[in-house]
């Protein structure tokens, strides 16, 4: 009897073992897929346009595993920016050449009077030329980053071009400080004369400055000069802000922010260069008597009468015109 019970026990135990084994086989045959709920690369890229996680090194930007937006930035830097810059800068140069051929140099009507008045004092000229010098070097070294490998590299060779580019980069970084200081000083020292007014509307309507033949009245700065002022202040502010983000990489922003900063910096900078080409044209070959305002600081009275009549009247009233009494009304200058 005891032996029979023992046998039954063995049979039950054996059956139980078989059942468990059988269950185990069914489970493994069910094809477990541990990736079913795992993160999916294509889904991450589709939804977030990046794959980001956690790493074990202090460099937190390395936690971004993939950022395919880099390809869009590449497209911008290698294609879009080159088109914008090429069209803006070559277009402006072309326009100026055509303009000079059609309009010619704007002469001082009636010739020079021989009497002068101060237009920009020494401090204003110092600030202007500090900013201008920095701007030219910043512009050339900046354009080198975008256009240098096509325009200079084939002629200089890789080593010379890399050495030049390295120094250009240092110059670009360090001269940004005096340039930014210059923009801030320009903002402060000339803002009083640069708010738009009704005179500007009339000036623009009459096609003032060098475009029309008319010489509508203007105060110290006409509407065109006010535009240049605001381009320098706002454009300079934008390139400075975006430039410092690039110069202190990842201090204030992430990879997307760095790409955006470069986009803003590049676009504003090439448009800024194009605008300044126009400014340089008017200040030098485009208009007789204009350069001396920023050169020696004084301008001829007849130049002032032609371009800044309201400002001249104001200065005359304050007795700031040198070289004899103001000419009597109706006094004509000798013909050329």
């Amino acid at each position: 009897m005891t032996r029979f019970i023992a046998r039954i026990r063995i049979v039950i135990a054996a059956a139980a073992v078989l059942m468990i084994a059988g269950m185990a086989v069914t489970v493994s045959a069910q094809q477990v897929n541990p990736t079913a709920e795992s993160v999916n690369e294509q889904q991450l890229l589709r939804e977030l346009n990046k794959a980001q996680g956690r790493g074990s090194i202090p460099d937190t930007k390395s936690y971004v595993l993939e950022q395919p937006r880099g390809r869009e930035w590449r497209e911008f830097h290698e294609v879009t920016l080159k088109w914008i810059g090429g069209i803006a800068i070559l277009g402006m140069l072309g326009l100026l050449v055509v303009f000079l051929m059609i309009r010619g140099r704007v002469r001082i009507e009636g010739g020079r009077s021989g009497r002068t008045l101060l237009r920009f004092n020494a401090f204003e000229r110092l600030v202007h030329w500090m900013t201008a010098t920095c701007f030219i070097i910043l512009a050339l070294s900046g354009l080198n980053i975008t256009f240098g490998k096509e325009l200079l590299l084939p002629y200089l060779g890789p080593e010379t071009f890399a050495t030049w580019s390295q120094w250009a980069k240092y110059a670009h970084n360090y001269l940004s400080f005096p340039f930014t200081l210059g923009v801030v000083l320009i903002l402060l020292m000339w803002i009083a004369w640069n708010f738009p007014s009704r005179v500007d509307v009339e000036w623009l309507k009459a096609g003032g400055g060098i475009v029309g033949r008319e010489h509508p009245p203007a105060r110290r700065f006409n509407a065109g000069q006010k535009m240049i002022y605001w381009i320098v202040v706002l454009g300079g502010g934008a390139v400075a802000a975006s430039g410092y983000l690039l110069m202190f990489p990842f201090y204030a922003t992430d990879i997307t922010g760095m790409q955006l900063a470069q986009v803003v910096h590049g676009v504003v900078a090439v448009l800024f260069v194009a605008a300044m080409l126009g400014h340089i044209y008017i200040g030098t070959i485009g208009m007789e008597g204009a350069f001396e305002a920023m050169g020696g600081g004084t301008v001829d009275v007849n130049w002032a009468k032609q371009h800044h009549s309201l400002w001249l009247a104001d200065q005359e009233a304050k007795g700031r015109v040198k070289g004899g009494a103001p000419p009597a009304a109706g006094h004509m200058q000798p013909a050329e």
Partner: protein, 198 residues
Amino acid sequence: MARMKFLCDADRCIECNACVTACKNEHEVPWGINRRRVVTINDGKPGERSVSMACMHCTDAPCAAVCPVNCFYTTADAVVLHSKDLCIGCGYCFYACPFGAPQYPKVGNFGSRGKMDKCTYCAGGPEADGSEAEFVKYGANRLAEGKLPLCAEMCSTKSLLAGDGEIIAQIYKERVAKRGYGSGAWGWQVAYRETIAT
């Protein structure tokens, strides 16, 4: 010639970071620079995956396209290398790189970057193969000795594969067929404009 690629099987990576350590040691990479790193996505949640990432040696590499001084070149094995003599440390390759591969030693004032450093696929640089000058700038040149990148060679789970693209794709395909699942070849679509059909 082979078309060298990396493939990280995320279903095998156990985030041991041995590839990172091997790389740093083999090339005597300076402090603060990581040519390879492991990133864990959805860390601590069900379905987390770790991926070991370095330069993927892209087809039509974005870094090379945006470099203002053209310091990059592609070898016959399709490995993307660069010259530290030409690099000006502008940082543009980092903005263009989809994988965050370029690294910069911090030198001088502000955030001023030195010469870029990145994974060389253990293939050195423009200097003579195995020369002292090459080692100092780029680390060991294992490829010239007929060896594959150390990170993949010593990966304990064989998650990280390196070698000819077609061969490692075949290994991965067979793996996926055998075990019945696979989360795909991370980065391949972005780097090589192709995926592995499994």
